[in-house]
Structures are given as C-alpha cells and as structure tokens.
C-alpha cells in the first residue's frame, strides 16, 4: 500500500510553482517570505522523493543542508524586514521605491 512516487514529484512541482508565482505577484513582504518557504520546501520534498526512489541517502543529506541554510536565510530576511517596518509600519513592496532608473 504505497502511493506512486510521481505524485510526490507533482506535488513538489505544484508547490514550487505556487511559491514562485506568489513571490512574483504578492506585495506584502511577509507573504513573500512565506512563498519563499513554500519554494524551498517543494525542493526538499523533491529531494526526499528522489532519494527514496533511488534508494540513495544523499538526497536526504541535501535536505538537511537546505533546511538549515533556509532557516538562516529567512531569519536574515525577517531581520531586514523588522528593521524596515520599525521605520515605516505597514509598508508593501510597492511603497519601497526610492530607487529607479
């Protein structure tokens, strides 16, 4: 009783697409961060699926690194966001547009 591996790959692809699409069209920085997480976790799911398919532990090792580094990355991002929101509450990405040209 097991679900075919390709379903997991499709789920991964769907999550990745949702994340990428959301990151490109949403304007709330916090929602954009969530989309980033969605993309990275889609990657993790794909790696784990392939790792099971190939019976190769290497793919799961990648997931460890992606998890940790993604956490570091998002923490830095939230830090940046907090420092911006301290100065300008409720900013959307469109409000942050001093630089053009």
């Amino acid at each position: 009783m097991s679900v075919d591996y390709s379903w997991y790959l499709f789920l991964g692809a769907a999550l990745f697409t949702i994340g990428a699409y959301g990151l490109l069209i949403r304007r709330n920085p916090l929602v954009m961060f969530m989309c980033i997480e969605l993309m990275l976790n889609a990657v993790n799911l794909t790696f784990v699926t392939f790792s099971r398919m190939l019976n190769d532990i290497g793919g799961q090792v990648v997931v460890f690194f992606v998890l940790v580094v993604a956490a570091a990355e998002v923490v830095v991002g939230l830090g940046i966001l907090v420092s911006i929101l301290r100065r300008r509450p409720s900013a959307t990405v469109d409000d942050i547009s001093a630089l053009k040209g």
Partner: protein, 504 residues
C-alpha cells in the same frame, strides 16, 4: 559520501583531512572568530584593531594559497566534492585580493559614517570565505552551501545603512531576488539529482553523457540551475536588482558585489557547466547565447542615459558580464573542447576585477568632497584633482577596452574565442559584441569629457583629500590595470592555468 554511509555499514573510517589544502579556509575561519570575539570584548572601542586584524587575516590566508600554488599538486577531498587545483587557487587569490581592496576602501568610509559596527568586517570575511569555498566546490551540496555563505552576509552588508531608505530598499530587493534565484537553482539541482542520482559534479558529468541524458527533465534542471546563477551574475533579464542595490548599498560594498560576488557566480557556473553539464551543450549553449546578447545590449543601452555615476557603473558592470558570457555561448563549437572557453573567461574576470574596483575606489574618493553621485559633479575635476582625473580616465578607458589599458586584452581573448568557434551564430554574436563596445565607449568617454573639459559646477576647487587606505587601493588597481594592458602575458598565464587543471 562514505562519511555518511559509515554507520549504516557499521564501520566508520575518519576521513584523511588534508590540512594543507584546507589551510586558506581554516586561516580565514580562525580570523573570523577572532574578529568577532575581539569586537565583543572591546565593545566597539577597538575599531582600528578589528579592521587591522581582518586585513591581516586576508593577507595571511594568501600565504597557504601561494604555498599550494608552488606545490602544484591537485588535491581532491571528500570523494571529489572539494578540489584544490590551479583553477581554484587562481580564484581564491582573486577573492582574497578583492576582499582586501574592499577592506581598504571601507576603513575610512566606515569611520566617517556613524554606522560603524564591528560586524561589518565579520560579514565581509564570511562572504569572502564563502567565495573561497565556492572556488573548490565540485558538488551540488557544497556549491549550494558556498553560495549561501557568500550571499547571506552580502544581503546584510547591502543594507548596512539601516536608517537610510535607499539602503533598506537595496537590501530588500537584493534579498528577495537572491532568495528567489536560490530556490530556482535548488529546484534545478533536485531534478538533476533525481535523474543522475549523484551530487558530485564529475559523476553527474559522466552520467549526463550516457543514456537517459536527453530526458526533458535534465534540460529543465540545467536551465533552472543556470537561471539561478544568472541572477547572481546579474545577466539580463535577471539584472533588475543590480542597479538599485548598487546605488543603495555603501559604495565599498557595491565594489565588492560588482566584482567578487559576480566572480563567485561565474566560478560556480564554470564548474557546473564545464564539469557537470559538459555533455549537454545543446541545452546551455543557446541559452548563454541569448543571455550574452541581451546582457550586453540592454546593459549598455540603459547605461547611456544614466546621470548617476554609480548607476552608470552598475549598468556597465551588467554589460561587462555580457562580454564574460560570450565564451559560454560558443564553448561547444571549440575545436579544443568546451573547456578551452574557460581561459578567456578567467582572464576577463581578473582584468575586470582590477578596473572595476579601481573605478569604484575613485567614485569613493571624489564623493568625499562633492558628496554627490551625479556625473555632472565630476565637472572640472582636472582643475583641482589632476591625479584623480588621470586615474579615473585610466579606469573608464580600460573598461571601454582602449589599448594599452587592461580592458583591451580581455576583449581580445573573448573575440578570439568567438573567431575560433567560427560558426554563423558565433560571428553574429561577435558583431553584436562589437557594436556594443562602440556604444559603451560613448558613455565611458562622457565621464572623461566631464572631468577634462567641463567647468566646475559650484566653483569649489579645494583639493580632494584622499586617505591612505583609499590611495593604496587606487594605486593597486591602477598599476594592475596598466601593467596587464602592457604585459597581458601576466593574466594570460593565470587564464591558461585555470583551464588545464579542470579538463578531465
């Protein structure tokens, strides 16, 4: 991955660590920790000490790089995932020097600002460490970790002036697009891992030349990985963050990003493409053709109408990345094999590093007096700062590729690669590149015209006081630019070294 499969098999053999090969990174890690601890103990009172320590650390890490270069042996560790060869050493040297020049640029800039924090040096060293690791990474995991180690500190450095609106915007744009690119690259890596079942590049390379390599999923993976790095090297259409981030970040960091970070992206691309994806030039070659043509043309055309010197240099560095991409676009058609495209790229990168760092150092020096980034504020610079005017002319004409200054040789080797390939597509690309060089000359020369022929805008002709660190950086870059232009054999040698060690 014998380290990890150990417990499953019930035996574990501690890997032989080649400490000599790891020495540059180990030195850098030790200095990094020392900088953090010293800054914590002194609580910001020892700013000169921390800066000095970081600078000495970068130079100290250069020593093992040199001893490894003298030794000359290729060292492969962790099952081929981490390789120290001439290619890696050439770029480690470049990253250390670029880091040191950034340090020289930063010291007075930070002292003038009220934003001084000891973490600045810590972050800069971390980013350089990431680049050093990148130069040796021959495995998907280590490339990813190196990329993040060089990027995450760079996000923070770009937003260093955290009470400044432009700084905030610079870092947010850089961060969001950078992370997006990382996600795309990782997804590509997961597809490639899924098809080949390998993470080490040499293994992926041999699998991709066998059956199953032509699956569409492989092509998709390769495209995703290249798109991810196209953000890093700010290739059009993935360049939109670059000008805004360059303008909003502190200028020394802009110099660092435009040279070291871009070189880091190119190093990763070269390793991935020329080791991992070697057999699939049908996928990456057309892609690089389009990227190169777009990057040169769009970068140069937008640079034409910039009035701010930093934005102009930002678009110029986008365009320069286009020239550096040219050898990729014809690599598959070279008689000596695709790897032969690496020499010209390495040569161009080294020359570009010298002239671009120099140009940004000069922008810093002039901004100390004019407090402005507008090109118009360079009017009549010759009247009160003839030395700086001559230097700036050297850098901009070198970037334009006028002999006998450094840049011409970079252009020469790149064009020669296009001619070697000798396909219709290569010739078309060559024509596009030639037209672009002419366009570029126009905006580079307009800076020179402003400095030499226009009057001083506000009539203030007090001389510019250039601090020692900045003077050192300027002279270093100027000497390198001129010497390379007159004796191009110096960099050509490095370019050749970088090729042969990597070819199987």
């Amino acid at each position: 991955m014998d380290v990890l499969s150990g417990p499953v098999a019930g035996v574990f053999r501690a890997p032989d660590v080649d400490y000599h090969a790891f020495a540059p990174e180990l030195v850098l890690v030790a200095v990094l920790v020392a900088v953090l601890v010293v800054d914590l103990v002194l609580e910001g009172r020892g700013r000169r000490l921390v800066g000095g320590l970081a600078g000495i650390g970068l130079l100290a890490a250069m020593v093992p790089v040199l001893t490894l270069a003298v030794d000359g042996a290729n060292r492969s560790m962790v099952g081929g995932a981490y390789v120290v060869d001439d290619f890696a050493l050439v770029f480690k040297g470049l990253f250390l020097i670029a880091g040191y020049v950034t340090m020289l640029l930063s010291s007075d800039y930070l002292a003038d600002d009220d934003y001084y924090e000891g973490e600045y040096y810590f972050l800069l060293l971390s980013s350089v460490l990431g680049m050093m690791v990148m130069a040796s990474s021959r495995d998907l995991i280590s490339i990813f970790v190196a990329l993040e180690l060089l990027s995450i500190p760079a996000y923070m450095l770009a937003g260093w002036r955290k009470r400044d609106l432009k700084g905030n915007e610079a870092t947010l744009k850089y961060y969001l697009l950078g992370v997006f690119a990382t996600g795309v690259m990782l997804y590509g890596m997961s597809l490639i891992f899924g098809i080949t079942g390998e993470t080490v590049l040499t293994e992926i390379g041999s699998k991709l030349q066998g059956p199953g390599a032509s699956l569409p999923l492989v092509s998709l993976g390769i495209v995703f990985v290249i798109v991810g790095f196209a953000f890093k090297i700010s290739a059009v259409p993935f360049h939109s963050w670059a000008p805004d981030t360059y303008e909003g970040a502190p200028t020394p960091i802009t110099a660092f990003l435009s040279v070291a970070s871009k070189a880091g992206g190119f190093v990763a691309l070269m390793q991935l493409v020329f080791i991992g994806f070697l057999g699939r030039d049908d996928v990456w070659q057309p892609m690089f053709w389009v990227l190169a043509a777009l990057t040169m043309t769009v970068g140069n055309l937008i640079a034409l109408r910039q009035t701010n010197i930093v934005r102009m240099l930002a678009y110029s560095s986008v365009a320069q990345a286009g020239y550096m991409l040219l050898p990729f676009a014809v690599a598959g058609d070279l008689a000596k094999g695709p790897g032969a495209a690496m020499g010209p790229m390495t040569t161009y990168l080294l020359i570009y590093a010298a002239m671009n760092l120099g140009a940004f150092a000069l922008v810093l020096a002039v901004a100390r007096k004019t407090r402005s980034g507008e090109i118009a504020s360079y009017g009549g610079l010759f009247e009160y700062a003839p030395g700086l005017t001559v230097l700036m002319s050297i850098f901009v004409f070198a970037l334009a590729g006028i002999p006998p200054l450094g840049g011409w040789y970079g252009k020469l080797v790149v064009f020669k690669t296009l001619l070697d390939a000798n396909t219709p597509w290569a010739i078309v690309l060559g024509v596009i590149a030639a037209v672009n060089s002419v366009i570029a000359l126009y905006y580079y020369a307009s800076v020179a015209r402003e400095m030499w022929m226009r009057p001083v805008p506000d009539g203030d002709t007090t001389p510019v006081r250039v601090p020692a660190g900045l003077t050192a950086a300027l002279s270093l870059c100027a000497v390198a630019t001129v010497v390379i232009g007159v004796y191009p054999q110096v960099v050509a040698r490095f370019g050749d070294l970088a090729v042969f060690s990597l070819l199987p």
